[in-house]
């Protein structure tokens, strides 16, 4: 069988294509972006007519996927871990409605926060929603588990959560593919009120979900993904989840692993397997990438009567990504390496590209704000967040998608006037519009700078929902046309742009300034998109 070299993300994408999905929806977010990008570029997906859509945000992604499932077909929604917070409402409620066609939600976590503002562990969402959760340990298992996950979803009429982490998402390995399936026929739910979560129906659906728990656990025990492997040394039993398994095996390559081990890649946790392991050993060590989810459950409040080691008792670091050295150390394996410390080495933080339009936007904004006290610029998530670094030092917040506008509103309400918001075009469409409506409703004195580079740049250049419709959306929220400006952020326009900023900063109401110039690294793509758009219009 031929192997394809695929990133973990791409293995999931190829599996979704082969498993007969009808549609995939996503908002780009590292480390999940390459799943949907792969489907968008796939010739096979095109031939099969698979809909691959970037959506306004993760909530709309999951909702559209639920709609596909309602119609009896298979769908996938992909996001980064914090995106699942945005989609939490449809996600949690999809557990109650259940699925009709197969439904998988993929959430890619980012332990050590390589490109994120926290390292939350999506497995808690799976537990919270009471749905099966899959945590593949390598690229091949990611591929296989998508097939299994869709079958599982349809067998029990439940959405399934797949949780991966950065290292799997962005690591490539050879993957063997299955025979592709066709998409499902259109088939509405047998009960047309299944998705009507009126309290009277929701209570019944919730009862049904609770009643499925035993079957979900049985699947975890019997599917073959969770494995109990015996060992000769019963002093210690090891419970290891997901990718952490690789780090154990790396340390014991060409050696027998001495301890009994339970490898977890499927949840809810297989209680019987855990009991079997715990009963046969003196102490337990839990190794998991992310939060101590299994460890906490094992310890509980009363404990299991045996010592449990892991991230909570300091056997492993409480936070951050694992690696082969950290995991080796817990087994007493010290590797020899050149323990050098070059004190002259300096960090090289990411920065705005040469010629980036955001540079000109920040230079103009900084100058316009020079007359005021500092600390009044709320910002958001995108390349422009790099404006926090020198030489700009322009921004004072980056919390969650869209928060710049609403935080500026709050700051202004608290008396910080003028308050400024800096937000990207794609982030504005993601979660900025509703905040703008709030500002307009109360005529809050905020100046909103939309740095419009006409693409979702930070994640590598995906389509922006704002392209060709930004002004009409802004005016539609009720912003006064006199206080909406479109400027061209370039050196030669600096003085003119500073004046516009100054004027709007002094205005006692909502102003929106769109600084529009194409992302310097995605010029060609943006121009192509614009041509397409011009044809449609």
């Amino acid at each position: 069988m031929k192997k394809l070299p695929l990133l973990g993300d791409e293995a999931i994408a190829q599996a979704a294509i082969d498993a007969g999905i009808t549609a995939i929806y996503a908002y780009p977010g590292t480390p999940s972006t390459e799943i949907t990008e792969y489907v968008s570029r796939s010739k096979q997906a095109k031939e099969k007519g698979i809909k691959s859509h970037w959506t306004s945000n993760e909530k709309t992604s999951v909702e559209a996927a639920i709609g596909v499932s309602y119609a009896g077909k298979r769908a996938m929604a992909c996001m980064k871990h914090v995106g699942l917070n945005v989609a939490a409402d449809p996600f949690m409620n999809s557990a109650i409605t259940g699925a009709n066609g197969g439904l998988i939600i993929v959430s890619a976590d980012d332990p050590s926060m390589h490109s994120s503002q926290n390292e939350q562990d999506s497995r808690y969402y799976g537990k919270f929603a009471l749905i099966p959760t899959l945590e593949p340990h390598d690229q091949q298992e990611a591929y296989d588990m998508v097939h299994y996950g869709f079958d599982l979803s349809e067998k029990y009429g439940t959405p399934v959560l797949m949780r991966i982490t950065t290292r799997l998402a962005h690591s490539r390995a050879g993957v063997t593919l299955n025979v592709p399936k066709k998409e499902n026929e259109l088939k509405l739910p047998a009960d047309l009120r299944q998705f009507v979560l009126l309290p009277s129906i929701a209570r019944k659906r919730y009862e049904m979900l609770l009643n499925k728990q035993e079957a979900f656990e049985k699947e975890s025990t019997e599917s073959g993904f969770n494995k109990l492997i015996d060992g000769v040394d019963k002093k210690l039993g090891v419970i290891v989840s997901g990718i952490a398994y690789n780090y154990i095996m790396e340390n014991f390559q060409h050696k027998n692993f001495p301890y009994p081990m339970l490898r977890i890649t499927q949840y809810p946790l297989p209680t019987a397997m855990i009991k079997q392991l715990v009963e046969s050993v003196d102490e337990v060590l839990v190794i998991e990438e992310g939060y101590p989810l299994i460890e906490e459950q094992l310890k509980g409040i009363m404990g299991i009567g045996k010592p449990v080691h892991g991230r909570l008792d300091g056997s492993l670091p409480r936070k951050g990504e694992l690696n082969p050295n950290i995991v080796g150390k817990v087994f007493g394996i010290e590797s020899s390496y050149r323990d050098v410390n070059y004190d002259f080495l300096v960090n090289r933080p990411p920065q705005l590209c040469n010629g980036c339009p955001h540079i000109d936007s920040y230079e103009a904004l900084n100058e316009a704000l020079a007359d005021y006290t500092t600390g009044r610029v709320m910002s958001d998530i995108g390349c422009y967040t790099l404006g926090a670094y020198p030489p700009f030092n322009s921004i004072n917040s980056c919390v969650d998608m869209g928060a710049s506008i609403t935080m500026a509103k709050g700051a202004a309400d608290a008396g910080l006037v003028p308050a400024v918001s800096v937000i990207g075009d794609s982030t504005f469409m993601h979660s900025g519009i509703t905040g703008l409506v709030d500002c307009v409703a109360y005529n809050t004195p905020v100046t909103i700078l939309i740095v419009d580079n006409e693409i979702t740049a930070m994640t590598g250049g995906q389509a922006s929902m704002a392209l060709g419709r930004l002004e009409s959306v802004i005016l539609g929220t009720g912003v006064h046309p006199e206080h909406m400006h479109v400027i061209d952020p370039r050196r030669k326009n600096h003085e003119k742009n500073v004046e516009i900023f100054k004027k709007e900063l002094a205005y006692d109401g909502v102003s929106v300034i769109i600084a529009r110039r194409e992302c310097i690294v995605a010029l060609d793509e943006i121009r192509k998109e614009k041509q397409k758009l011009a044809k449609v219009n």
């Binding site: 070299p5 490539r172 082969p324 050295n325 590797s335 390496y337 050149r338 920065q351 590209c353």
Partner: protein, 198 residues
């Protein structure tokens, strides 16, 4: 390392976001496929790609590979497109591992350290080599091929047949036309010669 038929190579490719470490990784990737070896290649996507420090872990073996990350003390080679970036990963090198680095700094920071200190520290790792890859590539026809000079210098150490790396370049750059393929293959060969002291 070649014990009882077990073969493995751990390679760290380092540089600055935008310098093109991906082409080196892709070329090794194609060659690994032709050699029918197992591989895992971990990449950096996201924020660091904007002019930050980036690295790729490339692992090759004739047995299945577990960890996507190279353990500290295990790397056989660091191939670095930027000299300071090579030093960031020295504790990943095995005790007989070597550095193959470009000579030219990428100064997108104001506090870039003294270059002599960097070069000396690289050369303090036995059998390491610093190459003016940009200049060598320019002589061949395009400074863009500097990566392939460095890959060529590493070729002997990687342990995959040289012709497979050449084929990889044909696959990788084929779409860009014969001239680009020729320059990159010439660069690969020039890199090998430099490493052999020719």
């Amino acid at each position: 390392m070649n014990l009882n038929g077990f073969f493995k190579r751990d390679i760290i490719i380092s540089g600055v976001g935008g310098q093109g470490i991906v082409s080196i990784a892709s070329a090794i990737g194609y060659a690994t496929l032709e050699a029918r070896l197992f591989f895992k290649q971990s990449e950096v996507h996201g924020m660091s790609q904007r002019g930050g420090e980036v690295q790729s872990h490339f692992r090759i073996s004739n047995e299945p590979i577990y960890s996507d990350l190279i353990p500290m003390g295990s790397a056989d080679i660091i191939i670095s497109i930027e000299p300071m970036e090579a030093l960031r990963y020295v504790n990943f090198l095995s005790m007989d591992g070597i550095i193959i680095s470009n000579k030219n700094p990428y100064k997108n920071i104001t506090n870039y350290p003294e270059l002599d200190k960097i070069w000396d520290s690289i050369m303090a790792i036995p059998n390491s080599i610093i190459i003016d890859a940009d200049e060598e590539a320019r002589k061949i026809g395009s400074s863009k091929a500097a990566n392939m000079i460095l890959l060529g210098a590493a070729a002997g150490k990687i342990g995959i047949e040289f012709s497979m790396l050449e084929n990889a370049i044909k696959t990788l750059f084929g779409r860009k036309g014969d001239r680009v393929v020729e320059i990159n293959i010439a660069a690969l060969n020039r890199g090998r010669e430099i490493f052999l002291g020719k």
